[in-house]
């Protein structure tokens, strides 16, 4: 799945960063394919999030880039030059592990200084660099502590400082925020994004958390079973998911069954099983009469009291206020449960709205219905 290289504002802001190209990388553990022909082209200074369910190969792909795992096929290039022949200690790749992997017998300062010592830096310089990076992660007062004397969040910051202190050209983050509570996680996400920008680091961030991917990443690669299903900006992935898997994995969605009644220049007329006929944008490869699923985000649906050809009847269920939004549940005539979101207004919504329709700006996605 070759992607068009696209430039982002972040990338152009820091020409110091490096490009990272993963080309058709395949990794096997025994007979099992952990990574199956993955290609990603990452711009200098860009943050790419790897998003996908557990076991889909995210960590494995990071380990290939870091040089811990040898791929069965494919290449990794930095600034166009292959790095596959380089051992891990000569790749200049910074990595923060899922479990931090701090050296338990070394103090915070020693952990941060570790990579600098390995590079033979003068001890005065090491001292300065350690102080600087501990300052950046706000752990100046913790220099002499051992990792086990730190909280999870503090450990994670040490791991980050340790990885950044050697000034790597590429930063790999394996679910770095998983162990943090919500507030700290937000702070750290912002912090990492800031540092990454200041240092112009080309970054891969592995995460389970789609919100995190959305907010931190310039682009997201959604992985499933060792493959990249879609590699795009967060908004594109949200609004125009390529596959049903991506569609379901990112955000909440409603799936309505139907058939294509007619096709004309990229638009399809879809007859919903729920009882309505809609005009929507159609992807290539769909034939007239084919069974399809229409994916509509909750905020792209509206409720009304009157019916019409583009409206379908529903049976209203619970309504729940959720912060600034109101979430409604409803059931279609063919038994599908829908979620509908609308902004909460000071007055309660009218009752008796037993029809559902697409909002005017809705951009639903159409997928062939799996048999």
């Amino acid at each position: 799945m070759q992607q068009q290289r696209q430039s982002s504002t972040v990338a152009t802001a820091r020409p110091a960063g490096r490009t990272l190209d993963v080309e058709d990388v395949t990794v096997r553990y025994g007979l099992a394919l952990a990574v199956d022909g993955v290609s990603l082209s990452i711009e200098p200074g860009e943050v790419v999030a790897l998003l996908g369910p557990s076991g889909c190969g995210k960590t494995t792909l990071l380990r290939v880039v870091a040089g811990f795992v040898r791929q069965a096929a494919g290449r990794v290039r930095v600034d166009g030059a292959p790095i596959d022949h380089l051992p891990a200690n000569r790749r200049n790749v910074g990595i923060v592990f899922q479990n931090y992997a701090l050296f338990p017998h070394m103090t915070v300062a020693e952990n941060v200084a570790y990579g600098l010592r390995a590079r033979g830096m003068k001890s005065a310089d090491i001292e300065a660099r350690v102080a600087r990076f501990l300052g950046i992660v706000q752990l100046e007062g913790f220099r002499e502590r051992l990792p086990r004397q730190l909280s999870g969040g503090q450990q994670q910051r040490v791991a980050l400082a340790r990885a950044l202190a050697v000034e790597p050209s590429i930063l790999l983050l394996d679910e770095p925020f998983a162990a943090l509570d919500r507030n700290l996680r937000l702070d750290m996400q912002i912090e990492v994004k800031r540092l990454q920008r200041v240092l112009g680091l080309t970054t891969i961030l592995v995460t389970h958390d789609q919100d995190e991917a959305m907010s931190v990443a310039d682009r997201i690669a959604v992985m499933n079973q060792g493959r990249v299903e879609q590699f795009d900006t967060p908004l594109t992935i949200y609004d125009r998911p390529n596959t049903l898997f991506v569609n379901g994995f990112i955000g909440t969605t409603n799936l309505l069954g139907g058939h294509i009644a007619a096709l004309a220049d990229g638009h399809a007329t879809v007859t919903l099983d729920a009882g309505a006929t809609l005009q929507v944008a159609a992807p290539a490869g769909l034939a007239s009469g084919a069974p399809v699923l229409l994916s509509v985000r909750p905020e792209q649906l509206t409720l009304s009291a009157e019916g019409g050809p583009q409206r379908w009847p529903i049976e209203p269920g619970l309504s729940l206020p959720l912060g600034s939004q109101l979430v409604h549940e409803a059931r279609t005539s063919d038994g599908v449960f829908l979620k509908i979101v609308e902004p909460r207004r000071p007055v309660p919504p009218p009752t008796g709205r037993s029809y559902c329709a697409l909002a005017p700006d809705a951009r639903p996605s159409l997928f062939p219905r799996p048999t």
């Binding site: 380990r63 870091a66 040089g67 811990f68 051992p87 891990a88 200690n89 000569r90 790749r91 200049n92 790749v93 910074g94 990595i95 592990f97 479990n99 992997a101 701090l102 050296f103 338990p104 017998h105 570790y114 990579g115 390995a118 590079r119 051992l146 086990r148 340790r162 990885a163 050697v166």
Partner: protein, 282 residues
Amino acid sequence: MRPLLKFSEWQLALPLGLAFVALFLAPLMLLVGVSFFDDEKLTQPGVASWAKYYGDPFTYKVIADTLLLGVKTVCTTVLIGYPLALVYLDLPARWQRVLLFIIVMPLLLSVVVRTFAWIVVLGREGLVNQLLLSLGVISEPLRLLQTELGLVISLTQIEMPLMLLPLISVMSRLDPNLRDASAALGASRWRTLFTVIVPLSMPGLVAGCLLVFASSTTAFISQTVIGGVRLIYLPLVIWQQALIVFHWPQAAVASLSLVVSVLSVIAALSWLGRRSTGYVHG
């Protein structure tokens, strides 16, 4: 009202404590008691046995040789065992099981069998000599049996499980990411070994050294059968005094010398061990 029976935790340990006193402390005290008799009939209390033993310069040579044998065996088991443990960690699970079986096997054989097997290997007409002779490396059989070299070689094999088992158990609990983290930070394999893996496996290494040291300095059968009786270590002296000459006070003095000298080395080792354990768990 106070309850009639109230068990606190130390009372639960009482049976073990009693067994310890009965089976370990009491015999040890008896040993000390016996050592303070002058004659083999145990009628004359005195310090003559101690005086005679420590008045003889030969005693110091024997003690030194015994401790040195322990040190040499510890060195060779570490030099061979540590790399073997590293190899073990890198093997796939199936091969790990095979290697573990090979490692543990010496423990499943009686010490007599192991020792005589080494006679067959190291003897004048043994495997090593026959191999070297047939390859033309040597023209005369090498003398390996009844030398300290041969003894250290065989003790290395015999004691190897005692080194490897604690080492492997500690090392396989280390986070494998630590190695990768070290490499990613630019450290070479050697640097990773000496700054990360060795310090973190210290508790296992110290435990292994302790066991090997205690076991090799007291390995009477291996020492006398493979080493012969020209190599004189404390266990041989104890055996002669206790079971040939029947001079129990002398035997007790020699036994206590062995216990004290081995224990003091062990105490030093485990002090080192405790210092390094502090970092690892918790």
